[in-house]
Amino acid sequence: MIALRTLLNICVYSVSLLGVAPLYLYLEPLAQIVLPLAWGAGLIADIRKRPLVPPLPATLISILVFFYYAFQISRTTLVEPVTNILALLLVIRLITAKNSRNYLQIFVLSLFALASSTLLTLSLAFFIFLLLQVGGITSGLLLLSFFHRSPELQLRPPQLRTLLRPLLLLPLGSLLLMFLFFAILPRTQRPLWDFLNPAGSANTGFSERVAPGTVSSMSSTRRMVLRVEGPRQATNDLYWRGIVLNRPVGGSWIRAEAPEESVVRLQGDEHVELTYYPEPGASRYLPTLDTPERVTGFRTRAQEDLIFTQRGHKNQRISYRGISRPGAIIITSKQPESPFWLATGTVSPRLRQTAEELKNRGDTPSERLAALDRFFLAQELTFSVEELSLSDDPVDDFLFVSKRGYCEFFASAYATLLRLLDIPARLVGGYYGGEYNELGGYYRINESMAHVWVEAYLPHGGWQRIDPSLFAVNAEESSLNLRNNALSWSRQMADNIDYLWNKAVITYDFEGQITLARRAGEQLQRFEAKSLLEEGGKGGVVLALVVGGAIFWFILSRRRETPRQRLLHAYLKLLRRRHGITIHEGEKGLLALAKELKDSEAIHFAQIYSANLYRDRPLDAATTAALRDSLRRMRRHKG
């Protein structure tokens, strides 16, 4: 015997816990302290069946709490007071006596609390909490409908078993509905409370300005910035183009309006099509595999130097598709104009002299380029992100004094020298490398992979990628080379789940809905099995086949049962329910079993059944009716 109230309390306490848990970290200290205490106190009070707080004071406290937080609400702080109100109202309901109305209130408050947590965080945990809570609430509501009629109801094990099936089926139904609504309900294009998701902390990796020599050591985080879905690429092609910096100002390089030139074509390898899922908030520049040909996506904008930016809000999670030709040379409509592309920042006499010497070693740009490469190698530069010297003229210091630096030093020194050699040059910032997730088939790129390299314009060639960091004496063993390390299997798995969640749920928006609707429409118009398969509806078809197969199998297995089998199985099931024993077909003689159980109704059934069966008589209508009648009586008069 188990009290209905106990079951209901289990539902209520787990549901409230699930509702508040994701909010907990964002609550005010008062609520953070009160919440666990009240939860525990309420639980104990309910076990002892002595409510802690009488209804009137509870109502008064509720009103006080409501007004206290209501006055804090303003245009900029809306969510925090509301979440605190929700949590505290829930607390008060938990510690007072509960009638069916109060139970309902707790369910509603818990659901709201969980829903409000999505305004603060968008992690996968929400989904799990939601699944559990939906299960808890639907079961709770079912129990509540009984509770409403007779609050002191006690359930016997057989009754409990009867209840169990709807308790399991109902949440399943609500989940199916949930998935349906998720796919079709309209949603906003922008997050409602985006001020709650402030832009990420200062960028340590990728930045929109290259300024070597301003810090003595670079610490970089492994914060994920981008996932790229697509086939695996050659390691030395993994340059992710983010931004082009074209104007030196003092010791640093910035992005400025360049003289007009348009890209005619790319000259290089075959196409690679990739889908990009950037983490929101990092930068509005959208990285693409170098060299990108075009990018398609709802909120992307292309710039002349093959740089793509995000339109709309920077903190929104988006995805885009891009077509690239790895390592291709960019052919432009005309030669870069000299004054802009040959301008340099401050140049030390030593550097200018070096440039003059290099200039004399060759007449053509390619000869000078070769001479510059040799010079870089001869300088024996070291790639390092630590123990960097601070300097006003970082290029000079890097090339002739300290000879250590990271990619920004290499790139800015190289680009400056190129410009001094009358070769147009620019810096390209982005990422280099990527951890390939074999399970999900995508690259994972984090901030520590931020990188800067150079593009030089060679006449009759076009813009061409050169990575001066590779001239470092320790290029082989430096951190540059460690960027392609594979993740451990477990980390790949965890990352994969996060990736799927983002891909399937978070970035699923209006665009996804449109695609879904359009595809459905197209397929309805020309319904052919072949086109269905081709149109990428593979998943749908497979799913439909699986579901259809399951239904078919279910029907078939039902039909495969002869009437006799159906009767026997019903009988054995009833025995299980009445006596709690599990007997399978053929395990024991029917009559002996019934006699053993001293169940007169079961004996009656077994007698009719075996008399019919063992006398080789067909199962006629009269016998069937008698057997059904016996089963019905067994069902009615439980144990």
């Binding site: 395990e587 029917l590 069966l613 063992y614």
Partner: protein, 313 residues
């Protein structure tokens, strides 16, 4: 249709097991089943547990004639079947019937008789007639042999070969009675005299009718036949068994199951009937492999029966 004489048989069974043969209900029931199915009974147990009492009580209560043979190694076949002796007065040979010409014959310690005598007896059991010096004499109806053997004493015995064992429908022990029953028996002393005073409860004609009823009125369905056959098959392929239940064994199983159904007042055999008689009827028919000779045959048959699915649809 009610089963003929079933109530009378049941009354007999109840009277015997309650008044005279306390604690032997199981072996008594098996004995009655054997009688109804026209088989023979082998009681395997140590002396002094009431084998003779059982046989005598059965004979008395049925109003049947009772004969007894105490087997020894010098027992001759003619000591059982009887022999022709010369009648001087009439000047011809006259056949003097042996103890076998009784309705119920108790053969005590059958394994002490020589194989020659054993086979003569068993042949008579099977054929239900005796041929002496060219003349065939039919045995009385009903005819039931209750043979006993002591499984413990092995010195100077001629154990029955398996082929002979096959002729007994049922082989069972009697076992010690429960403590309080045994105490009551001790208190009351021997009841041999009481048994001799038992009035017949069933006429020979009624018993014959009951036997007819078992033979003709009980329906043996295909499902149960399949079940019996499955048991036989299983006994033949069991790794411990050299030779399993023979076809004759199968027939006997079916007959015993029918008699069990009759006692249960059912006009058809159900698998439970078979389960109830299978060990007593089937176990002694199994010949185990030499390396497994120590294993109890009853255990082997029980395990076979447990593993066999009961036909239920």
């Amino acid at each position: 249709m009610p089963l003929r004489q079933r109530d009378a048989v049941l009354t007999l069974l109840d009277t015997l097991s309650e008044r005279y043969l306390q604690g032997k209900a199981r072996s008594l029931k098996l004995a009655v089943i054997t009688l109804l199915a026209r088989g023979h009974l082998l009681l395997e147990d140590i002396p002094g547990l009431g084998k003779t009492t059982l046989a005598l009580a059965l004979a008395r209560s049925l109003g049947l004639s009772f004969g007894r043979v105490q087997c020894t190694s010098d027992l001759l076949p003619s000591d059982i079947t009887g022999l022709s002796i010369f009648d001087r007065e009439k000047g011809e040979f006259r056949f003097v019937p042996g103890p076998i010409f009784n309705n119920i014959l108790l053969v005590d310690e059958i394994n002490r008789a020589t194989p020659r005598t054993q086979s003569a007896l068993l042949e008579a059991m099977e054929e239900k007639r005796v041929t002496v010096e060219g003349t065939t004499y039919p045995l009385p109806e009903p005819f039931l042999v209750i043979a006993t053997q002591n499984p413990v004493e092995q010195v100077g015995t001629f154990p029955l070969p398996e082929s002979q064992l096959d002729r007994f429908m049922v082989s069972t022990g009697i076992g010690y009675p429960p403590a309080e029953v045994e105490q009551a028996i001790i208190r009351g002393g021997s009841i041999r005299d009481d048994i001799l005073a038992i009035k017949p409860q069933l006429t020979v004609a009624a018993l014959a009718e009951a036997q007819q009823s078992v033979l003709n009125d009980i329906y043996l369905g295909d499902k149960v036949v399949g079940y019996i056959h499955a048991l036989m098959e299983a006994s033949r392929v069991h790794p411990m068994v050299l030779s399993g239940i023979s076809t004759r064994g199968g027939i006997t199983l079916a007959e015993a199951a029918k008699a069990h159904a009759y006692l249960d007042n059912r006009d058809h055999v159900i698998p439970e009937d078979l389960q109830a008689v299978a060990v007593a009827t089937g176990a002694h028919r199994l010949v185990l492999r030499p390396e497994h000779e120590g294993v109890a045959k009853k255990g082997v048959l029980t395990s076979l029966l447990d593993a066999l699915p009961v036909p239920q649809v």
